[in-house]
Amino acid sequence: MSTTLVSDAVEPYAIAFEKLRGELPGGDRVTELRRGAMQRFGEIGFPDVRQEEWRFTDVSPIARTEFDLSPSAGSLDAADLAPYSYRDCYRLVLVNGHLAPELSDLAGLPSGVEVRGLAAALGAGSEAAEAEVGRHAAYAEHPFVALNTALWRDGVLVRVPRGVVLDKPVNLVVLGTPGGQPLAFFPRVLVIAEESSQLTIVEQYATLGEGRYLSCPVTEIVAHPNSVVDHYKLQRESSSAFHVATFQIHQERDSNVSSHSISWGGDLVRNDVNAILAGEGCEANLNGLYLVEGDQLVDYHMRVEHVAPHCDSHELFKGILEGSARSVFNGRIYVHPGAQKTDAKQTSRNLLLSRDALCNANPQLEIFADDVKCTHGSTVGQLDDTAIFYLRSRGIGEEAARSLLTYAFAADIVERIRVPQVRQELEEFLFRRLPKGDIVRQAV
C-alpha cells in the first residue's frame, strides 16, 4: 500500500519536472544533476516517520498537499519589503523563488565580488557557479534536497574573491506570497568565500499574504582556506508555511564559519545543518535559537563531520516552547579516523513554558579517532521558581518576572549576534512576544 502512496505523492513533481526542465537554468553538469536528483526523488519519495531521520517530524501534510510547483513571482513594491530591508546591506530579494531585481540593491558592490541571481550567473557562464552548485549538498538520502536540486528556478550566488573583505553584509530576503492554491518554491543559495576572504550573509525567510506554501531552500557555503564566513538565518514565515531547509557547509583549511539560525515562524520547520570540516585548523560555530508556540514544530538536524585534525566545532542551540509546540534537536558529531585533536562541543537547552510543549533531544557522537575532546549536553526544563520569587521579591510582577527569565534564557544567543540589524530584530521580536515585554525592554 505504501508504495502506491509514495508514487502518488511523487508523480506531480515528476510531471512538473518534465514540463519545466527545458527552462530551468544550468549547463551540462547542472542539468545532469537535476535529472539524477529527480530520478532519486522518484525512488525514495517523501520520508515517513518509520525512518530514523524523520521519526519525530511527520511530513505527510506536505506530501498530501497539491502545490503549484511553478508559481509566478507576483508583484511587490518597496513598502512590502520595508520590514526586511536592513540598512547598510547589499540586498537581493527572491519572491516565490524568482529573483526580483527591482527590489534588490547592490549599489557600491566592490568590483570582483559577485552577488547576483544564480540563474543569471549560470547563464553568463560563471565557472564557479557551474562547478560548485550541488557539489556539497548530497541529495541521495534526502528527498527535499533532491527536490530542490531538481526543481530550483533561481537563487543567489555570493562569491568573494581571494583576500577581499566584503564591507557590508549580504541580506538575502526570500519571500513567499501565498494565496489561493498552495505554492512551493525551491531557492538555491551558493556562497563561495575564496582564500583569505571574509563575508557576512543574512538569509531571511518571510511571508506576505496568507495561505499554505512550502519553502524548500538549499544553501551551500564553500569556505576556502583561511576564509571567514559569518552566516545568519532568520526564519520568520507565517504559521501556514512549511519550511524544509538544508544548510550545507564545506570548510577547507583554517577557515572559520559561524552561523546563527533563528527560527520563530512556520508551521512545520525542518532544518538540516551539515558541516564538513575538511582541512586542518577549521573552526565552526553553529548556534541557534527557536521560539515556537501553538502547534508549531521545529526540527534541527545537525551533522558535523570532523575529517581533518585540529578542528573545533561548537554548537549551542536554545529552544523556547509554548502551547503544544514541539521541537526536535538531533545532533550528530562524526569524527573520522585521523581527525586527531578534534574539539567538538554540542549543547542543546530547551525551556518548556507550558505543560503540553514537548522536545526531543538526541545527541549522537560517532568517534573514530582516539585523541579528541567531544562533549555534549542537553537540558530540558522550566523556569526556575526561586529565580521567579527573587525577581518578584524586588517588586517585579509575576508575568514580567517570567518574561525576564525567558529573555535571560535567550540572551546568550542574542548577545552573540554580530550584525546589529539582526540582533535588534530578534530583540524586538522578543519584546513583542513576551508578556509585559515593555518591562523586559526596560530591564535588559
Binding site: D384, D385, T386, A387, F389, Y390, L391, R392, S393, R394, G395, I396, G397, E398, A400, A401, L404, L405, Y407, A408, F409, A410, A411, D412, V414, E415, I439, Q442, A443, V444
Partner: protein, 260 residues
Amino acid sequence: MSLLEIKNLYARAEEQEILKGVDLTVEPGQVHAIMGPNGSGKSTLARVLAGDAVYEVTDGQALYKGQDLLDMDPEVRAREGLFLAFQYPVEIPGVSNVYFLKAALNAIRKHREEPEMDAMEFLAYVREKMKLVKMEESLLQRPVNDGFSGGEKKRNEIFHMATLDPVLAVLDETDSGLDIDALKIVADGVNSLRDDKRSFVVITHYQRLLNFIVPDVVHVMVDGRIARTGGKELALELEERGYSWLEQKVATGAAAPVEA
C-alpha cells in the same frame, strides 16, 4: 501601630512543619536580630514573610502596617516596602543589574503613585546608593549576580535594598561567609539606612555581625519558635554558651519566652 505583628505563625514545606507558632512584633525604627541554630526556621520565617510559595502557612497571621501580609503577592509586599536580602542571591544572566533595578524601582514607585524615574534621574540616584556599599561601577553594568563572588552578591543585595528604599528589610544571613571588610561594608550600609521609621530584621547565625549592627532586640529561634527574647546582651550570652542549653530547655518545655 506596630510595623509588623506576627502571631502564632505555623508554616510547612512539603510535609514538614518548620514554623511552629512564631510570635514577633517589630516597631517602626527598630532593629531585631534573630539568631538560632541551623534548621531552627530562621530562613523559613524570612521567606514566608517575603511570600515564597514553597512554604504553606497553616495557621496564625502576620500583619504588616495593619494589613494582612500573607494575603499579598510577593511583588505587592515589595511594593509596600518589604525587602528580603536573600541568603543565596540568584544569578540572572542576560538581565543587567542596573536596568533591572530601574524596572523594579519604577514598579514600586508606580504602586506608590509616584512618578517613574527616567534614565538620567535614576543614574544620579543610584550613584549615591552605590557609595553606601562601595559598589564598583562594573557590577552595575553586569548581569544580575552573574559571575559575582559570594561577597559581591551580598553587597549587591544591600545595594538593591538601599536603592529600593524599603520600610522593613529582612536580611537572611547576609553576613555568612563574608570577610571582615565585606562584613563592615554590609553593616555600614544597614547602619546608614537606619532611621526612626525604617525597621530591620537581621537573621544571623553568628554573633559577630551584631558587633557592627547593634540590635534593639535579640530573639533566639529554636525548633520553629522564638525560644528567648532579650536585649543585645543576649547575643553575647549565646556567643559564650552556644545554643545547646536553649535547645535542651525547649526539649524539656522549660524555655519561656521573655518579653524585651
